[in-house]
């Protein structure tokens, strides 16, 4: 995982990887950002939880409605007031909302 490449995404403030349990493994923070490794460590745990819930919902939705197209899941994003965290697999990027390119970020995580 090339975190520096992730930091080149529009509005990127932080990029990180985490274990299946949600432990923060590697991270890069843009200088001057208000984010801290402690916040990232908490964020990675919520990322694992949100991906698991979204996976369950996608599976359930397809089974109940017969509507395909959700699985396999390609990511989840929480949109905060000033920044969004976009995550897929074991990697995530925090992007500033005003500069965010959600599509490019999801695509980058998909191919990472």
């Amino acid at each position: 995982m090339d975190l520096e490449k992730m930091m080149a995404l529009p509005g990127a403030m932080a990029a990180f990887t985490f274990s299946d349990k949600g432990d923060l493994q590697n991270h890069v923070l843009r200088e001057g950002t208000e984010l801290t490794p402690q916040v990232l460590d908490l964020l990675t745990r919520s990322c694992v939880a949100n991906l698991a819930i979204a996976g369950m919902e996608a599976r359930g939705w397809e089974a109940v409605t017969g509507q395909a197209g959700f699985q396999p899941l390609q990511g989840f994003s929480v949109v905060g007031l000033e920044w969004s965290v976009v995550v897929n697999g074991n990697c995530g990027v925090v992007v500033k909302n005003r500069d965010a390119d959600y599509e490019a970020t999801f695509n980058a995580l998909q191919t990472a």
Binding site: E34, L42, N50, F70, V79, L81, E103
Partner: protein, 134 residues
């Protein structure tokens, strides 16, 4: 133009709707049945509640870190993406640039979600939940 109608005018938007935070009402346009729209509304409300709870915890670790109040969330599927901003949701196809366009319109039309979202969510459940939350 109402946000749902504006979203539905965009090619690639499958369905869009609005749900009440208390979970008992919804309206929508597009390719969903009434029952599926009801399910989507419940799902959106549950996810919104969950990510708001998470942001409260982030805020207790790092006040004013830029996450709270949560504006919404996105689930990216293989061919379909679900976007939720405030109490609006949309199901869209994974077409080039569509996600960014839909997010820009939803953020602009819904406006910034204020800090009282959780209070509104909980207050409908009964009791003095505001005191317990803050």
């Amino acid at each position: 133009m109402h946000i749902v109608k504006q979203l539905m005018a965009i090619p690639g938007v499958i369905a869009a709707g609005e749900y009440a935070y208390r979970g008992d009402r919804f309206s929508f346009e597009g390719a969903l049945t009434d029952e599926f729209a009801r399910m989507a509304s419940i799902l959106c409300r549950a996810n919104t509640l969950s990510v708001n709870m998470q942001s409260e915890i982030f805020d207790s670790f790092a006040e004013n870190c830029g996450c709270r109040p949560v504006q919404g969330w996105i689930v990216r599927g293989r061919d379909i993406t679900v976007c939720a901003i405030g109490n609006y949701f949309s199901f869209i196809e994974n077409r080039e640039d569509l996600l960014n366009d839909v997010m820009t319109i939803m953020r602009a039309k819904v406006g910034d979600i204020e800090d009282d979202l959780l209070v509104n969510l909980y207050a409908r459940l009964g009791g003095d939940t505001k005191e317990a939350l803050y």
